[in-house]
């Protein structure tokens, strides 16, 4: 399902199939954990192409979709919505257990 085809700057995101981790599609068609390496679509047409490419590369991920982002003066990307900020950055509080963190 196409989301956020609003003309904002967008990146393609998904959850990784093997562990559900949040990933972004980079310029080389690879899925990366790093938002700063995500391919950036700056207009609606490019976003449509980016989403089509993400879907074509979806074997290792679940349900790719577009995420609206902003870009600061020095090129740092940040999702617009709180939900996507949390997806990109993780929990907004300290989880109870620091012990046995196997997959941090």
């Amino acid at each position: 399902m196409a989301k956020n085809l609003s003309g904002d700057m967008q990146v393609a995101s998904a959850n990784r199939l093997s562990d559900g981790a949040v990933v972004f599609l980079d310029d080389f068609g690879q899925w990366t954990r790093r938002l700063d390496r995500a391919a950036l679509a700056r207009d609606k047409r490019t976003a449509e192409i980016l989403l089509a490419r993400a879907r074509a590369e979806a074997a290792s991920v679940v349900d790719p979709f577009l995420v609206a982002v902003t870009e600061s003066g020095d090129g740092v990307l940040e999702p617009l919505s709180l939900r996507e900020k949390i997806r990109a950055s993780g929990l907004t509080f300290a989880a109870i257990a620091a012990e046995a963190v196997r997959y941090a």
Binding site: G20, T92, F93, Y103
Partner: protein
Amino acid sequence: MPDTHFYRYDDYDRALVGERVAQFRDQVRRRLAGELTEEQFKPLRLTNGLYLQLHAYMLRIAIPYGTLSSRQLRQLAAIARKYDRGYGHFTTRQNLQLHWIRLEDAPDAIAMLAEVDMHSIQTSGNCVRNTTADHFAGAAIDEIEDPRVWCEIVRQWSTLHPEFSFLPRKFKIAITGSPNDRAAVRVHDIGLRLWKNACDEVGFEVIVGGGLGRTPMIGKTIREFLPKDELLAYLEATLRVYNRYGRRDNLFKARIKILVHEIGAERMREEVEAEYAAMRDSALKLSPETVEAIARQFAPPVLRPRRTRVPEVEAMKLENRAFALWLKSNVAPHRVPGHAIVTASLKPAGAPPGDASSAQMEGVADIADAWSHGEIRVSHEQNLVLPHVAIESLPEVYRALEKLGFAEANVGKITDIIACPGLDYCALANARSIPVAQRISNHFAELARQHDIGDLKIKISGCINACGHHHVGHIGILGVDKNGVELYQLSLGGDVDFGKTALGTILGPAVESDKVVEAVEAMVATYLGARRPGERFVDTYRRIGAQPFKERVYGNS
């Protein structure tokens, strides 16, 4: 310690769960190999309680009627440590959620569950979910009969029931065996209350069509007294009526509460009774032998009456103020003199409500083995309960819980907050719940003040689905998203006490996240200024109404 006081799997259960593990292992293998699409795989993983949330897969594990042995709790701790991040979240449905499970590990995790007679089947989907019960079951002083026997009968009947595997929507049943309802039975799809009639017979009051979520409803009684041996026939009749008439055209109108609301309780009763008349003497009628065989498994531990007044306990009360407060709030009377029910608070100041690390789970299991006959309960208020503790052991249990951080003397108090995982984890949420709960908890952390404020239940949901039960909080807090900003709608006057079950009333405009603590403080101040001796927060609210609270929170403008 062997699991002697509640149901243990027989060969049939073991085979069923074992087969499911093998099936799911193969399904996961095929998904990872690309042989199944996500569209094909999603219903299969959900059938096994595996959700995909914001950051990871989440495994929802059923804890039948909230009862755990120490062995089972240790196994949950081991699974969380081996396959998750070393902690889990106990939920309002007496389940445990592990929020960081890898898909490839999920079959091994549920195989470990099967080793201790547990599973994650029917923790998702439009089927009968885990039947919940009074967390003091089998120990409560006011109990008429242990509801877990009937929960187990319902579990066996509803597990993989072919007719009810694709209901219009999910279906939740709760059972209490006490007049003081600790299982919130009036806000479930079906609530069952065991009671004794004038002829001294025990049967069920059958309450249908309660629920929270988008359209909160208090359930309606459609049968005042149902003989116990007719329970399954009556449930089957009710589910059959719902399956036939429940709406499938609109997800938001598909729960049984909407059906009952639309056709009325009387018509619902007539439909159920007509269906029931055709099956009351069917194979679903429970034989005394069947019930007794299950009841035997729930035979309570042999507890001999002990001293009710123990000098060591009295001395410690005088020496240790926190212990004295803990005795008041976290220790409840037991049916056997000289024993008590202890609630381990999973709400230490500032902690995420309902979360426990693997080490903490193991610690509670050790305490249960040492002082509670190896038994633990999970409450729908997201705490753990040690149901059979000798009063003379209370100082030791307190100290042991203190080491785990679970001795906060706040059960039923303002920091004993129910909160759903919210937007930090959940794909459905609109706003965060846990950080709001943490701020309230830190603000009101001082125990003496909490006890001065008295019983006050705050319940927080991160979306209208109401997993945090905000509709029935004395203070309910609902997170909403308004143009990308988290706002929190406040409600007052909700309650789940039997006979007083009420839905909260929205106080006024939603407030910004950083104003929630201030608003709660204003409501508490209003209460403290107006209360009469013996009045709880909710009693004062009922007497004086919302206006004084509204004026204090929003000003007079």
